[in-house]
């Protein structure tokens, strides 16, 4: 079953075409990699899918729900979560608080419920916190739940961001450069998380520059260059694809 389907998506900024007629289908449960030289439109694609940029044309469907034209919070409500290339953790909040906010979509109690159904509110809160702690532990952040994020090292903050995205129990999660600035140990953590996601049939889209990771975790890789898809297939194919090699070498040395 196709989870995410992009048909002929184009994103323009004034005269600049950042994404040009991109079409691809991601089946449910797949771990897809999205790679390409700098400026090839990877993050723009993610922004378009999550609703931050409106495509000039094309359609983006998540399980048959059309996402184009939806504001980010509505797009997220269809079961999608993401992390950011520039790392957007809530700096003055603790690890736990960050992750809890990720659970915004899974909690449904409003203020009036405090008066009408106080026990249900307490129940929901308790469950949320339990889940958040479990996620923190999974991400290797046990013991640091009450640390304010801005005092955490960069790699740990990225782990928090991923944990926050997981909290919403998404069907589809997009990780934009998730391993930048991480230690080897933290990268292993991320790899394990991704494998876990795969086991739970959660679809993942990873944008990355670290070829080792992309090649080792992804089932299928889409390659962009100047906003256009130039190759798509399993990692073995991509590695030997002459167009891909040329795109990267032409744009400068990439550390593989």
């Amino acid at each position: 079953m196709t989870l995410l389907s992009l048909k002929d998506v184009s994103v323009r900024f004034g005269g600049l075409v950042a994404v040009d007629g991109l079409s691809t289908d991601i089946p449910a449960g797949e771990v897809r990699g999205l790679i390409g030289p700098n400026g090839s439109g990877k993050t723009t694609t993610i922004n378009a899918i999550s609703g931050f940029y409106k495509p000039a044309s094309g359609s983006i469907k998540l399980e048959s729900h059309e996402l184009v034209g939806l504001p980010p919070h509505e797009a997220a409500a269809h079961g999608m979560a993401r992390t950011f290339q520039n790392l957007r953790v809530f700096p003055n909040l603790t690890v736990l608080e960050n992750i809890l906010i990720g659970g915004h979509l899974s909690s449904h109690r409003e203020i009036h419920d405090v008066v009408i159904h106080p026990r249900r509110v307490k129940e929901e809160e308790k469950n949320l916190r339990q889940r958040a702690r479990a996620i923190a532990s999974d991400m290797g952040l046990r013991g640091q739940e009450d640390t304010v994020c801005k005092s955490l090292p960069y790699g740990r903050r990225r782990l928090v961001e991923i944990g926050r995205a997981l909290m919403s129990q998404p069907k589809f999660i997009m990780l934009d450069e998730p391993t930048v600035g991480m230690t080897a140990e933290e990268i292993e953590q991320v790899k394990n998380v991704i494998f876990q996601l795969k086991k739970n049939m959660i679809t993942v889209l990873i944008v990355g520059h670290d070829m080792k990771i992309i090649m080792s975790v992804c089932d299928c890789i889409t390659v962009l260059n100047y906003g256009k898809k130039i190759a798509e297939g399993p990692s073995s194919e991509i590695q030997s694809n002459s167009q891909v090699i040329e795109a990267y070498l032409g744009a400068g040395e990439e550390d593989a």
């Binding site: 999550s50 931050f52 504001p71 980010p72 919070h73 509505e74 997220a76 409500a77 979560a81 993401r82 950011f84 957007r88 953790v89 809530f90 700096p91 003055n92 909040l93 603790t94 736990l96 608080e97 809890l100 906010i101 990720g102 659970g103 915004h104 979509l105 909690s107 109690r109 409003e110 203020i111 405090v114 509110v121 307490k122 809160e125 916190r129 009450d146 640390t147 304010v148 801005k150 005092s151 926050r164 919403s168």
Partner: protein, 332 residues
Amino acid sequence: MEPPSATSTASPIRDEGNLKPRLIIGILILACLLLPLLVEQPYYLYLINLTGIHAILILGLNLLVGFTGMVSLGHAGFFAIGAYLSTKIVMNLHLPWILGLLGGGTGALVGGLILGIPTNRMKDLTLSLVTLGFGISIYRVLMSWTSFTGGAIGITDVPPASLLGFSFKEAAASFYLIYGILGILLAVAASMAHMRVGRALLAIREDEVAASAMGINTRYYRIMAFAMSAFYCGCAGSLFAHYIGFVSPDSFTFHHSITFVSMVVVGGMGSVAGSFLGAAGLTLILEYFRTFSQYQLVLYGLSVILFVVFLPNGLAGLAEGIERRVSKLFQK
């Protein structure tokens, strides 16, 4: 100048229902119930009552400024709307005070929507400016629309609050009324802070982009925060008018708006308890400096500056920092 320890932010989500805060609240409630009997000087009781009214106002403003990060420099306007509307409802329409309270609060809330909806797209500084302009405009209206507001003189002989025939004329009675209402509104705000609503507001303050990616409808919450803070201010305004016994534009100037925001900062942004600390702290500082007569406001301005430079997390942050260090001591 480095801000003090990065881990000492004031935050409402920290405790997860352990016994300690409940105990403290219980003791406080007990103390509150006995307070009017213990305090002898009527002036002190007056200060305490005033602090209570300010606390309601600061609580509301904290929702907007501290939690959501939207700096409004014109909230004296909502305070005024609540006060004047309530006065008019009781004195001109001869309706019971409770309707004055609700009417004032609702009127202010509507004002909050009128101001909050169009300004939703505006970024922080522009918003501050627009709200400032709003506050000043309200002041002008208070001064110039003499037929409705009584102009510079205002409206005198405002009857005290009354519920079911009982008139809250005595300061002690007003104490129970004010702190009773404060207690209810505090409970609402505190529970909000611990729920998804409070977290959503904090998320918006910290990073709107990430917040919307998490499914938070930033537009809705921003407008809601505006409306709620206006409502709280309006209620405080009604209590104020019927406690003091008169309303005049002098109580609702631009200086007041700024004082309110500094109370939020001094108390601790995003901290429910901090709102009360801020209200108390600043009311007391103002009164303390009164003894220096002409230097009063100079010192007040200076202390605000000092607070901001040295205590960015406010009094609540200071309290939390102290608590943390004390508990560390006990752990050793």
